[in-house]
Amino acid sequence: MLFTDVCCVSQNSTILLPSINIKSLEGKTLNTKEFDNKGKPMVIAFWATWCKPCTKELNAISDVYEQWQKETKVKVIAISIDDARNSSKVAPYANGKDWPFEIYLDDNSDLKRALNVNSIPHTFLLNAKKEIVWQHASYLDGDEEELYEEIIKL
């Protein structure tokens, strides 16, 4: 127990994005290290086609995205944890909703696990150095405003 306590002292306040392979909708494998927004903030949002609050959150961000981008140049990356049951429906779903986000598949939840996500929706905010500076579990109506306040701070 003593050792664990010592360990915790050396914990950093910001967390770097872990290096995990995910898939693009074209089927290509890419590493999360390749996520880039030219020194501007990035938002990583976990979702699935069957998760109502997740799609609600992305719809809400989609509605204000143009304005967010104009003011902060933020990029939103939506990571779907749909597995083989639904993964082929992800592209038609996102396009059908006309979402302007970068979308990737994490079909065995490797990235979800590496980021210690308990359940979705779960949203991360990354600063220019790609450090996780803020995160939030679940989505309640209007939560995107809190996220935007955090983006502006960067």
Binding site: P18, P92, R113, H136, G142
Partner: protein
Amino acid sequence: MKKLLFGLLFCTELLLAQGTQKGQLSGNFESNSQIYFMDADIGIDSEDLPDERFLMNSFANFTYTTSNFSSGMRYEANQNSLLGFDKRQNGEGITYRYAQFNNQGLDITAGNFYEQFGCGMILRAYEERSLGHDNAFDGIRLKYSPFKGLYLKALIGKQRLFFDKGKGIVRGVDGEISLNEFFIALKEVKTQMLIGGSVVSKFQKDLDPIFILPENVASWAGRFHIHHGKWIVGAEYVHKYIDPSASNNFIYKEGQALLANVSYSKKGFGFSLAGKRIDNMSFNADRNLKGQEVSINYLPALTKQHAYTLATIYPYGTITNGEMGIQTELNYKIKKGGFIGGKYGMGILVNFSNAYSINKTQIDKDTAIGASGTMGYNSDFYKVGDEKYFQEFNIELSRKVNGNLKITGSYINTHYNSKIIVGYDYYGMIKANIIVLEAQYKLKPKHSIRTEIQHLSTKQHEGNWAMGLIEHTVSPNYFFAFQNLYNYGNQTKKNYYPNVSVGYTKRTMRFALGYGKQRQGIFCVGGVCRTVPKSNGISLNISSSF
């Protein structure tokens, strides 16, 4: 002692690493608990209550990472498991620990890991905590990517069986090539192509007194994925050699599975169509276990995964011994303007899915279909069987009425072969119609009210259900919800199932407290299901991550 050693190892790594590079520690915690009460109205007397009266499932993960190294562990304490979870899950201890490092593209994991080859129909180790499912490997895994576009994996290990391990040893290799990235000549080609293949085998000693069983069972799979403009086409085929097991009643027949899909999508429009055929494809690391506890592969149910409560009463689970089915889905956004489009446009989602038995004929006139110790049956690959397992049609319309009000309406028609899917001999095919109306109203910034009215009507099984829900949310911290289910239109019981819940969220910390009654039902995610008994009680869920 084991725990202390691990803690020591964990810290030594951390302290050593500090000299050269910055390491970081992260983790999460979750606990779900419930106190159970008697309830004469819904038929819970003292015998139905768990002896402990109070039950809890909980775990915590800790992960330590530097740029090339990571290690982690999970401690679980289920003292004892909530009702509806497998009793073998009772206990406490370290159920997951690993160390992983990456050296010039070679990624090595020792200890526990999750993995998936292709879409998982040949091999998938994953966790679904809500179901109590966790078939993680304990062994060694290598991943190597010598060039961009070529990905190789190899693994060997035993699978988790609650606080024990499955008997079989699983070995597997998988390769995938992204042709456009791998061949320079294809770099500029607009069509993106990807091919992959796997071989998986298991070993389990034959101790059977009657049959001579294969101790090594192999399987292979091939897949492709093509992306061209607005089109995506993909398929995977899996073949498994003779594998007599408790799941297939010890027949000496090879298994196969095919899953194919095509989709087309553009701005405001999406269409997808998928088809599958599964024949004798249960692939278990222990041939004597009938369930999916140490399943090597994952056979997805090709049906819509519903979120509304009454739409989850009759969920489909893949029939691994044989089924054929399709699913198609259409997403469309009607442009704003006019009566239908309104000021903001209207979303339409249509989904249709079905599943049938596969064609099965006798191998000879003296042998019954599926008789133990025989070749089982013959099956025409292209022929659909006579028995319908499942069919569902769903249409959902959603529309923003004004800046503050959103409404969604949903209709579902389900045919559910309860005899095959869940073994309700008495009810046979259950036919149900479900209607859902959802409205969300923004009272003022950050304050919203959401209501749901749902109705399920059926002449079979438990009869009709009605449900109402009202939820008040205050972003970013609070929610309050009340819901009530009413079961009627049957001979024996007319019952209410009220439930009230409150929640508090602060960033990644979440508390939810609930009090009320829970109906008995089947809860499924993907192809795996668990039965949740009826209950009355107080529940508390806490989760946090850092």
